[in-house]
Symmetry: C2
Subunit: 342 residues, 2 copies
Amino acid sequence: MTATEIRLASRPKGWPTLDNFEMVAVELPAVTDGHVLVRNQFMSVDPYMRGRMNDVKSYVPPFQIGAALQGGAIGEVVESRDPSLRPGAIVQSMRGWRDLFVAPAKELREVDASIQPLSAHLGVLGMPAMTAWIGLFKIAQLQPGERVFVSGAAGAVGSIAGQLAKLHGCFVVGSAGSADKVKLVTEEFGFDAAINYRDLPPAKDGTEASALQRALAGAAPEGIDVYFDNVGGDHLEAAMGCMRDHGRIAVCGSISRYNDEAPSAGPRNMFVVVTRRLTMRGFLVLDWGQESKAFHAEVAPLVASGRLKWRETVVNGLANAPQAFIDMLKGANVGKMVVKIL
Amino acid sequence: MTATEIRLASRPKGWPTLDNFEMVAVELPAVTDGHVLVRNQFMSVDPYMRGRMNDVKSYVPPFQIGAALQGGAIGEVVESRDPSLRPGAIVQSMRGWRDLFVAPAKELREVDASIQPLSAHLGVLGMPAMTAWIGLFKIAQLQPGERVFVSGAAGAVGSIAGQLAKLHGCFVVGSAGSADKVKLVTEEFGFDAAINYRDLPPAKDGTEASALQRALAGAAPEGIDVYFDNVGGDHLEAAMGCMRDHGRIAVCGSISRYNDEAPSAGPRNMFVVVTRRLTMRGFLVLDWGQESKAFHAEVAPLVASGRLKWRETVVNGLANAPQAFIDMLKGANVGKMVVKIL
C-alpha cells in the first residue's frame, strides 16, 4: 500500500519556507503480528517543531533531512494484527505529517471516539491544554485571587491557560496579535483584559518592550503574580517589569524567537529576579506524563460542560501542512492549528 | 557627644566616586530610657548598597541624599539605659557608616563577644554566609554529588557558598577576577577548579560570554546542576549555556551590572530555560530571618572547627569607608570587606 508523507527537505534558516519540505509517496510494509495500519484524520502543527528543524541537540533529537517529520496525530485503525486494537479504533500517535502508516500497536493510545471533532484530542484534551494546566498549577503554583498574564492568549495553549486561571478565581490579562484576537480573548474566553501587542502607542524610548510594558501596567495596575510565557523576547521583559514580589514565571516557549537567525538579547531587566524574588521555571509537558490522568479528570468535564471554551483553525489537506505550519508560526491561527488529512 | 557619620552627598551615575560621599560631625542626643550609646568597631561594605544609592523603589527604600548611609555594623555598648544591654556588650546593628550612635536597645542584637575578630559577625557568621547557605539549600535545593558553579568565588558570599557545597559532597567550580584569587579559591577554599574570568583566551566570535562559557565547559565537562550567581551578565549567560537538564540557578546578585548607566541586555540563550527545564530563582536573605538559628547551628561549628575557612579584607578608618566601598565593587577585596572604625 502506498502512503504519502512530508519530509524535511532542508533545514530552515530563519523563517521556514515551502522549499524546506517535500511530499513523497512511500510503499508501506505489510502489517505483521502486533502491528496495525492507521489512516490519519488530523495532524498537529506546533511551535516546538520549529526547534526540531535545527540541527542541534535538545530534549528531542532533531528532525533528519530526508526523513518524514513527526508530530501528534489522530487516526483510525484500518487493519489490525494486534488484539488490543480493533479496526475502527481511534488512536493517537506521534506519526503526523503522513496519511497512512504501519506501527506497533503498543506505540499507539486509543482515545474516546465519541468526542467530536476528533481534533479535540490534539488541542483542548491534548498536549496544548495539558501544557497550560501543568504550567499554571505545577510550575507556577497558581493560587486563587492572583493576577495572571498570558501571552499568546488566542493560541492553543494561551487560550486554555487564561480560562483555567479565570476558573481558578484569578484576574487574567492576555496579549494577542490582532484586534480580532483581542476581542475573542476577552469576549469568548473571558479574560479580564487583553492587549494587542501589534498595535501599541509608541514608547517614549522607541522600544516595543517599553510600550508593551506600559500597556501591561495599564491593564494590570496591581502588577502580575504569575506570567505564563509562550512568547519570550519583548513580552518576557515587559512581564518582568510588571511582576509583583515573589512572582512566578512559567516559561513554556518563546515563539517570538524561534526563527531568529542569530541569538538575540535577553531581558534588560534581569535584576528584578533578585529585587522582586522572582522564580522563572521552564518546563516541557513531556516530563509530566504521570499527571495525564489528573489533567483529564479535571479538564475533560470542563470541556464537556462548555465551561472551558476552545477554538481551532483547521487546514484541509496533507499537502497544505507545510503552509499551515508556517502560518501558525506567524500567528495566523486562532486556538489550535490542525491539518485535516482528507 | 559628637559623632562622625558618612552621608550620601549625591547619587552616583555609573561607578560611584568619592564626591558622592561626605563625612559630617553630628551632635548625638542624650541617652534616654530604653536607649544605649554604641561605639562601632567594624562596619560592612556590601554590593547591595550600590542599589540603595539609586533613587528607585525597591525592596528597601533608597538612601536619602544628605542622610547617613546605613549598613551592618558591630559595636560596643558604652552607655546603657536599658536593662537588656550592659556596657561592654557587643551588638550588631544596621547603623554602620558612623563611629558612635544612640539607638533603642531593642533595635540591636547582642552577639557572642568571644568570637574574634568581631568582624566575623559581619561575614562568615553573618549576612554573607547566611546568603550563601540560603541560596544553596533553600533556593537551589542542592543535593550531594551535584555539580556547582559559583561566581565571585573569592568574595564574601561566593567563598562560603563554594565551601558549603564542597562540604555537601559536590563538585565545585568557581570564577574570580585574578590569578591570585583563583589560587586562593582552589588551594585554600578547596574548590575543584576555578576560572580567572579576566584572563580568558579570546573566543572565536569575540565575545567574553563565549570565552567564559568555553572555560566553564572545560572546568565542568559534565555541566552544571546548580549555579550560584553573584555576578549576572556574561557569567549568567555562560552558566546557562552549561546547565544540565533540571538545573537550578540561585540568583543572589549581579555585581557586574550594578554600575551600568543604561539597562544592558540579558542572556542571549534564554531558550535553554525551557529546553533544559531550568529554574532560576532570585532571593534576598532578609526574607529568611526565620532560618537564622538553623544557619548558625549548622555553620558556627564549621567555623569553630576550621572546616569552613574565611578571609576578610580590612580597611582602617571610617574616613576610608567610601573608598573601601568603591574598591569592593571593583573586586579589590578577598572575602568579606569590612572597615575597622578606629
